[in-house]
Subunit: 257 residues, 2 copies
């Protein structure tokens, strides 16, 4: 059987109504297209949710990091290449490379870790039990990305609560959980608009710890890291579960323009 190439490449446009006041694509919109590319890549190779959902399995994003070299500007065409770096029993690493189709520059790199879960028990399930471990035929271990390896995002108990939001319909994804990218948007919304006049996001590293659901209250606890980055712990609670539980932990690094 003829296999598709290990690396899948998908084209997008930095649409003007997804751009911020600097005429740059919002990081959340770039992240969404990276996740869309991951979805297309896995479906095209028969280990995506089209195959999995009827079998009560699904991919769940566990870690996601983006290293931004230059954000796509309004109307710029760009491609997202994505591939599986390796696969273990319960987790798989997927990388990303974003390239401008206008000038050929690398715009961003990404790394992610996904768990395969049983959608009924919500427990991890064996990746190699899917299509006799066919995913192994798509592992591309040689292509390197210069983004540093994912490391544990540490946050101390000195983090200070800076805001709180109630999640809504527009925060949800097609699994009726809070959308992975919406956490990034809410974290970036912690910074005032003035900050974005003088700063761009250079790096974001997100650990998805527990799933939140629409109606949950998200509280944002912030702390400055030794390197000047901001660490954010996003904790969820609701009327049935009044105690706060960490949903997401994240580190965001800005660069001065």
């Amino acid at each position: 059987m003829l296999l598709l190439p290990k690396i899948g490449t998908y084209s997008f446009v930095s649409e003007p109504f997804h751009c911020d006041f600097k005429r740059q694509l919002f990081l959340g919109a770039l992240g969404t297209q990276m996740l869309n590319a991951a979805d297309f890549h896995s479906n095209d190779r028969n280990f995506g949710i089209h195959y999995l959902l009827p079998r009560h399995k699904s991919w769940v994003l566990s870690r996601f990091a983006i290293d931004v070299l230059r954000m796509p500007t309004a109307y710029e065409k760009f491609s997202v290449s994505t591939w599986v770096e390796n696969a273990m029993r319960y987790f798989t690493n997927r990388n990303f490379e974003v390239i401008s189709e206008d000038d050929g520059q690398v715009l961003a790199y990404g790394k992610s870790i996904w768990a395969l879960i049983d959608t009924e028990t919500r427990q991890p399930t064996d990746i190699f039990a899917v299509r006799d471990g066919d995913i192994s035929n798509y592992i591309e271990a040689d292509k390197k990305t210069p983004i540093k390896n994912l490391s544990r995002v540490k946050i101390s108990d000195k983090a200070v609560k800076t805001s709180e939001i109630k999640t809504t319909y527009y925060d949800t994804d097609y699994n009726c959980h809070i959308n992975s990218i919406k956490y990034i948007e809410h974290v970036l919304n912690l910074f005032p608009i003035e900050h974005y006049k003088t700063h761009n996001v250079k790096h974001i590293d997100v650990a998805y710890v527990a799933e939140a659901h629409p109606g949950d209250i998200l509280s944002f606890y912030c702390e400055e890291d030794a390197d000047g980055s901001t660490l954010v712990s996003v904790r969820k609670h609701n009327s049935q579960q009044p105690e706060e539980i960490e949903a997401v932990r994240c580190k965001v690094t800005f660069v001065k323009i």
Copy 2:
């Protein structure tokens, strides 16, 4: 000089990470692609913001209505056709037709009104002064859309304040105003997630009354219309301007699934 066709048609995909838990494209995401199509159409014909902004002019959305027949489902390809129905001195009417590229069904219709403004004075400016009124060569008056004509969205002083939000970085557009579509998302977020399990949006009609800016507080005043629709007045204020001013008025109609 050879003119482009009056009607411009642009293809999009209902990307899975822009879909809700019903695996349907979010209405906000559809609205964004309609505005992107309007932007592409006007730029392609040399009366878009590429031509206008260096001349200190810009289009400002004044009215936007969407009539939904069926929302695109996840992965569905669809096209947005758009054209100028007519142009007056200060306003132009632009229509939309959204068609599935998978099954050919009409998915939605749209109507909009745009003002041309001087970006320095923020005052309306003469549309026919742009390229000697070249827009007149693109008026497509014959193609009809079955969406009813825009009518004044009325709201009484009995409307009740139901929520308030502070606008943030992710609410802004590339003009550093609150993004037209974000108002739609905030209005649809007034309804609990349970409502969307049994209802779809059938029609939304938005009047953009005054521009809001990031940091402004938006208050949402709601009232039920005689036909069962919900009327929403979105009022803005901030520390410099503590008195509430109407920014947006809107009517949203749901249909039971």
